[in-house]
């Protein structure tokens, strides 16, 4: 797999797009924070040439698993079970800020604990948000949060359900909420940021070396300010800072 000397690395990118991390422009070319990040990495790793392949998230993971793809990028969260199966770099390349969104007048919901016995909008069976909830439930066997599963949940629809009082809260990525809110302008607020989840690329188990190189490069990119700049560009906030800072620095979720 060479082409003018470079090693071709096949990157699976998730076609369940998720702006501004990763989405498609009008020509269906991938753009977003993830892509800018990968471009920077590619610049630094001169021996490699990245080739991108769209694919469904599950399929991408299977592809990485079987070695068809070298690594996959989306906003993959890390947990011990996944680390058994895939190779994660040590250094995250960004964060997902997860939050609970409620009606503005609710002040009984701030953290996940508050959701016990309340109604959460239905969630996708896969994806990072789901994983956070699952691990919460695993760690709190006596205080389970009820999770309803649905395939292809619609964020807009779910937020409307909360808006109409059908559900108590929705567990959602802050960036996503902001984007939807811009369009719908619902009577909702971010009740609390639940976590700042590091996100990773996911490698095939064999690629220890590549993952190592990625770690080094990513660290460099954070230190020299490239990634924080990109974060500002796409998310309007440098999420490499800590949560308190983010909250203070008027990260623009609803007042």
């Amino acid at each position: 797999t060479t082409e003018d000397g470079k090693k071709v690395i096949t990157v699976a990118i998730s076609d369940e797009v998720n702006p501004p991390f990763l989405y498609a422009d009008d020509n269906n070319e991938p753009i977003g924070y993830d892509m800018d990040y990968l471009k920077e990495v590619e610049k630094k790793l001169e021996d490699y040439h990245f080739e991108y392949v769209w694919g469904e998230e599950e399929a991408n993971l299977v592809g990485v698993d079987t070695g068809k793809y070298d690594f996959a990028i989306n906003w993959f969260f890390k947990n011990p079970e996944r680390e058994e199966k895939f190779l994660y770099p040590e250094q995250e390349f960004g964060y997902s800020l997860t939050s609970l969104v409620t009606q503005p007048n609710r002040d009984d919901i701030k953290t996940l604990e508050d959701m016990v016995g309340k109604k959460l909008a239905p969630m996708s069976p896969s994806g990072g948000l789901r994983t956070i909830l699952n691990s919460y439930n695993k760690n709190n066997p006596d205080e389970q949060i009820d999770i309803e599963s649905i395939e292809f949940p619609s964020n807009a629809d779910n937020l409307e359900r909360v808006n109409d009082g059908k559900d108590d809260a929705m567990f959602i990525n802050v960036t996503t909420f902001n984007a939807v809110q811009k369009e719908l302008d619902l009577n909702l607020k971010v009740a609390g940021i639940v976590s700042k989840e590091p996100v990773y690329t996911v490698f095939n188990k064999e690629h220890t070396e590549l993952a190592k190189e990625f770690d080094d490069v990513t660290k460099e990119l954070i230190e020299d300010g490239t990634l924080p700049d990109l974060a500002e560009k796409w998310f309007e906030v440098n999420f490499f800072e800590n949560l308190d800072y983010i909250n203070e620095e008027n990260y623009k979720f609803n007042p």
Binding site: L61, T66, N79, K85, F86, P125, R130, E148, E151, V202
Partner: protein, 250 residues
């Protein structure tokens, strides 16, 4: 490091099996009612019942033409809106949230399948010689009696393999019901897979379970078909001369 973690897969089988009753429920309900509606539609089309014929041509086209997912959504999102409107205009207090998603699935799947069944039945009714209907008329049967006693039993034999196709397709299509919160085999597999990204394992488990169900169906269908074919056409040489005796190929 094996790609597939079999141990994990086997451990999860009982969990996924819990989805089987839902899968079967949707498939069987849709199959049975779909067949009844489908048959009625096919008859209306064959006999060119005025208005109904045209109507059903459009119905079949529309139902087959639009994605099942969309049909599910229409009920899932449409019914609550409708109920709300009704509540407003009539002062009633129906709560759409109390309607089980399973009910939406039953309705949407039945409607969807009926369109396909209609075509299956039309094809098989056409395969019956017209002489059979004439003979039934000549002994004084009404068209309904003739259909029931003479024509349909023969048509059914022709339809069987296609009905088998539909049933098996339906078993797998039930996974779409997940889009309206109905959790069946595939959905369970996906939910379990997510924590450790065990998609490969869980898909295989789901595939095996589907296969098992479908295999049982195949056995059943083959049995019915063999039985009917034997009864009707005991010596029909389709099974003897043509198939076994002299496969003449030069």
């Amino acid at each position: 490091m094996p790609i597939i973690n079999f141990e994990f897969a086997i451990e999860q089988i009982p969990e996924v099996l819990k989805g089987v009753p839902i899968t079967l429920a949707i498939a069987v309900v849709a199959m049975v009612f779909g067949l009844i509606f489908g048959l009625l539609i096919a008859l209306c089309r064959i006999y060119r019942v005025p208005i109904l014929n045209r109507l059903f041509i459009i119905y079949i086209s529309f139902i087959r033409g639009t994605p099942l997912l969309v049909q599910l959504y229409v009920f899932f999102y449409g019914v609550p809106v409708l109920l709300e409107k009704m509540n407003q205009s009539f002062g009633t207090a129906y709560n759409a949230d109390h309607i089980s998603p399973l009910l939406y699935a039953f309705i949407a799947f039945t409607i969807n399948v009926s369109a396909y069944q209609a075509e299956i039945m039309r094809a098989s009714l056409n395969a019956v010689q017209i002489g059979q209907m004439e003979a039934a008329h000549s002994v004084g049967m009404t068209t309904f009696q003739a259909l029931k006693r003479i024509v349909l039993p023969q048509a059914f034999l022709v339809a069987l393999p296609n009905l088998g196709n539909t049933f098996i397709g339906l078993i797998k299509a039930t996974s779409l019901a997940f889009a309206v919160k109905v959790v069946e085999v595939m959905a369970l597999a996906k939910i379990i897979a997510n924590d450790g990204y065990h998609f490969l394992e869980m898909y295989l488990v789901a595939a095996l379970i589907y296969w098992l169900i479908c295999w049982l169906l195949e056995v059943l269908f083959t049995y019915i078909e063999a039985k009917m074919r034997n009864k009707e056409i005991k010596q029909k040489k389709m099974n003897t001369t043509i198939s076994k005796d002299v496969p003449l190929r030069v």
